[in-house]
């Protein structure tokens, strides 16, 4: 097996007739910060829950810290920090009690660190969980997750519902953790500006499989977008380095990988070409998950079920 901290290998998962993950495969290397992006319902939460062993894959396999996710031992669980979408905390507890509780479950939990961090975020130890704001609950969840010095931090859309200031503070806690421990992070998010700041690698999940799985720097340096309006009936280019051809009212949107000057020169000869630009993460996201995109890698549920002998 590889040295990856997280491995998804052809994972399928469906709930009744809804086929949520359709052959999800990717890896997260040690020390990497991996951002999992996707529209609502793309399967991000399902993927993360499979990783934590809350759900089993119905085909394929997922490994975390070298162990199959359907068979995690306390040893692995103790090395994973998890911040869920709802920042669920016991409603009867105070901040202090929540810290004590978490400390009792993990031998490596640094109680001083947790209380200190909570104080820095303006949380009083006697405050009761139900009276915390959404942002405060998010912060407390993150503090509890990182205080044990996890090898892997998994966050499911941690910034959802947080204001700009809280999001930045959340990011600060994450940056401190990375600086201190070189921890591996896998997080899902809708805030592309945060992702652009901290992610080493991004995966864009669409209809249950990854359409993009690449280093952010590669996306910036190697992918170019341009608009091309052909003269007469010249056809758009085809080939391995043409990632996408989108029809416009006039001409085409081209997304190219490692395109050479010669290629751009050819395009400029056979039509009108806009100056090639590196796409922003937002452009790329809209391009490949937007409403006009035909679902790539799509496979009818029934077909898959019959192939694997049914659920």
């Amino acid at each position: 097996m590889s040295s990856a901290v997280v491995t998804f290998d052809g994972v399928h998962r469906w709930f009744g007739k809804s086929h949520v993950l359709r052959g999800l495969s990717f890896e997260v290397a040690p020390g990497q910060v991996y951002a999992l992006l996707g529209r609502n319902g793309a399967g991000k939460t399902t993927a993360l829950r499979i990783l934590l062993g809350f759900l089993a894959p119905l085909a394929g396999s997922a490994h975390v810290l070298g162990r199959d996710c359907t068979d995690l031992l306390p040893e692995q669980r103790g090395r994973i920090g998890y911040v869920g979408e709802e920042h669920r905390l016991y409603p009867t507890m105070t901040v202090q009690q929540a810290v004590n509780f978490e400390a009792a479950t993990r031998s490596t939990f640094r109680k001083d660190f947790a209380l200190e961090a909570a104080k820095r975020c303006g949380l009083r130890s006697g405050q009761r969980v139900p009276f915390l704001s959404r942002g405060q609950r998010a912060q407390l969840s993150l503090i509890l997750a990182v205080a044990s010095g996890p090898d892997l931090l998994i966050c499911d859309d941690p910034a959802l519902g947080l204001d700009v200031v809280m999001r930045r503070e959340f990011l600060d806690v994450m940056i401190d953790l990375l600086a201190d421990t070189g921890c591996t992070v896998l997080f899902s998010s809708h805030f592309l500006s945060d992702v652009e700041r901290v992610a080493d690698r991004v995966g864009i999940l669409h209809e249950g499989a990854l359409l993009v799985d690449a280093r952010l720097d590669d996306l910036k340096q190697r992918v170019r977008k341009c608009i091309w309006v052909p003269n007469g009936d010249a056809k758009p280019p085809v080939g391995d380095n043409v990632l996408r051809v989108g029809a416009r009212r006039q001409g085409f949107d081209l997304t190219l990988l490692d395109a050479t000057e010669a290629m751009f020169a050819d395009l400029a000869k056979s039509g009108e070409l806009s100056p090639p630009e590196a796409p922003s993460l937002e452009d790329l996201f809209l391009d490949i998950t937007g409403p006009e995109q035909p679902g790539m890698l799509r496979e009818p549920i029934e077909q898959f079920l019959s192939k694997t002998g049914g659920a």
């Binding site: 930045r168 600060d172 940056i175 600086a179 652009e196 700041r197 720097d217």
Partner: protein, 133 residues
């Protein structure tokens, strides 16, 4: 030394950090012996991944712009860059070619571009050895 970056820019973040530090040296706003912020400080200040800062510092060290002293941190050497001559020339050519291409598309004549470049150089006050005069 002020280091600014733009996470949404098409340039990789580590390159932006490298460029910001190199230009601070070129402009003279940072001088030899100056201490760079620690990885953690800079990562927090810019709100970016500490790995990115580490990578930028590695590139700067390789280029001879900074030295790392064990336990003490990173310091500016005051030298522009130790890159081998050919590589330096290639990088310079690449930079200027990009600027020239853009200028052409903006509709400038070669004389205008030369004048503009001269003006930029004057602003930085380089002498013939690439040092600040």
């Amino acid at each position: 030394m002020i280091i600014r970056i733009d996470p949404a820019s098409p340039d990789p973040l580590f390159e932006q950090v490298v460029f910001a530090i190199k230009s601070a040296v070129a402009k003279g706003s940072a001088s030899a012996g100056g201490k760079l912020p620690s990885v953690r400080e800079l990562a927090r200040e810019l709100a970016i991944n500490p790995n990115t800062v580490v990578r930028a510092y590695e590139v700067l060290e390789r280029d001879g712009v900074i030295v790392r002293r064990q336990g003490a941190g990173c310091f500016l050497t005051g030298r522009g860059s130790d890159l081998a001559g050919a590589e330096r020339k290639r990088q310079l050519h690449e930079l200027l070619r990009r600027a020239a291409t853009e200028s052409f598309h903006l509709g400038f004549a070669p004389e205008d571009v030369e004048r503009a470049l001269k003006k930029c150089l004057d602003e930085l006050q380089f002498d013939s050895k690439g040092k600040k005069a």
